[in-house]
Subunit: 256 residues, 2 copies
């Protein structure tokens, strides 16, 4: 058991350093032999919730991201994330390569580079993203670079951890990636926290049906939900105003 | 409706040309508006069965191949197939590439070439094998060729049809393939028929449990079943002698 890990988890959830220490103390008291890491996380949530009531509205971030539909919601999510980090985004483009054309999930441009982005979503958040995705990305990148558009790099963005095998290959071939806790200094979870890009699925009351309807309307982030005209949104999605209102208020509490 | 197609199907099932014509006549009589191709195939089976009683024991070849377990049975099947066509076979090798090592399903050698073989099995026999498999194979081949073993070509072997997109890419990159009815002149079905390499799953009485037990014992072909000592096989697999005896007799009827 690593006390510091609990402290870091709390800080990542925007606890103050003092709150983080208090929570860690409490968790240590409530520990028992053979406790699972899932149970520890629940204890952290429970104790941190006393200091930060907005946590009552949210579920674990990694689970939340996994709950987004792979297409189009997680792809959209990745697009918005890269946009927040200064890229111009082009979604679902069909681009000629030297052998065949390729359907590219996201193209991300800034002044320095043009990224070909391969998006990989696992519904099961404990699954690792493996070598296969990187092998595919490598061949696609290679084939694209015989075509008209000039790409500077390939990038894999996924919602889970990345196997060592896959990471070694990616580094060797110059394929960039964003995954869960990877790269170490700037994984998906850190990018999300830094810009508060929480997926709507982090809300406890979010049913798959409502998620799908909001997703169809292009809404995948709490941020988008909080600023939307609720009445207009109810009309376009068919989700009752009362439900949307409650979700928007919870979103606001988490974001502020 | 294409009468010639029925004739060709019959010939592929080893009907004589006369039998094929008779069956086609019968099928034409029994046709009706809106008949599905599955129903047509059933009619062909039914009518051909009157001339060739051994058909009573077998199901459609494509379905049969799909019923093999992907690992290790279909891989083993592919190994034996390539062996019959003159290759020396090495299964499930781990080979160093220039970036990472790779688990290779099959390596096939003859005097002229060393093939890296990627095996892809779909349980659903109507699924197409798509671009992704060929993109992976291309990157793997590229990475292997930085290693110690010298491969001359990559080859994809699968049990279903191959999408046009994938085939175009494969041709462009020099990746060979064997799939269902592809290449046109020598698809998997033709290779199987030519050497009578029927999978054990072609037998009507073959339950998934028995298939798995035989597969665990390395038996995936009718040929293997027909020449085995039944008593010894019953002992090593735990399948009752009476069941094995019946299967071996049916196998023999189909093979002779």
């Amino acid at each position: 058991f690593d006390r510091q890990k609990v402290v870091r988890t709390c800080l990542r959830m925007h606890a103050t350093p003092e709150q983080a220490q208090l929570v860690a103390d409490k968790v240590v008291e409530q520990m028992y032999d053979g406790i699972t890491s899932k149970k520890i996380l629940q204890l952290v949530f429970h104790n941190l919730g006393k200091h930060r009531p907005e946590l009552k509205h949210q579920i674990d971030l990694r689970e939340a991201v996994a709950k987004l539909r792979p297409k189009p919601d997680f792809e959209k999510f990745v697009g918005l994330l890269l946009q927040e980090y200064g890229y111009r985004i082009f979604m679902n483009q069909i681009v000629d390569g030297s052998c065949v054309n390729h359907e590219i999930d996201v193209i991300a441009k800034n002044d320095d580079e043009v990224l070909y982005v391969e998006v990989k979503h696992h519904l099961q958040h404990h699954t690792f993203t493996g070598l296969g995705v990187f092998l595919e990305a490598n061949s696609t990148f290679e084939d694209l670079n015989g075509g008209k558009l000039n790409f500077s790099k390939a990038m894999v963005v996924c919602n889970t951890k990345i196997s060592d095998h896959a990471r070694r290959y990616g580094e060797c071939r110059g394929i960039r990636h964003i995954g869960w806790k990877s790269p170490e200094d700037k994984g998906l979870e850190q990018m999300i926290e830094e810009k508060k890009l929480y997926p709507i699925t982090i809300l406890k009351g979010m049913s798959p049906v409502v998620e799908a309807r909001l997703g169809d309307a292009g809404i995948v982030l709490l941020k988008q939900l909080a600023v939307k005209d609720i009445k207009a949104l109810a009309k376009s999605t068919g989700v009752p105003t009362s439900v949307l209102q409650e979700l928007a208020l919870s979103a606001d509490e988490i974001l502020r």
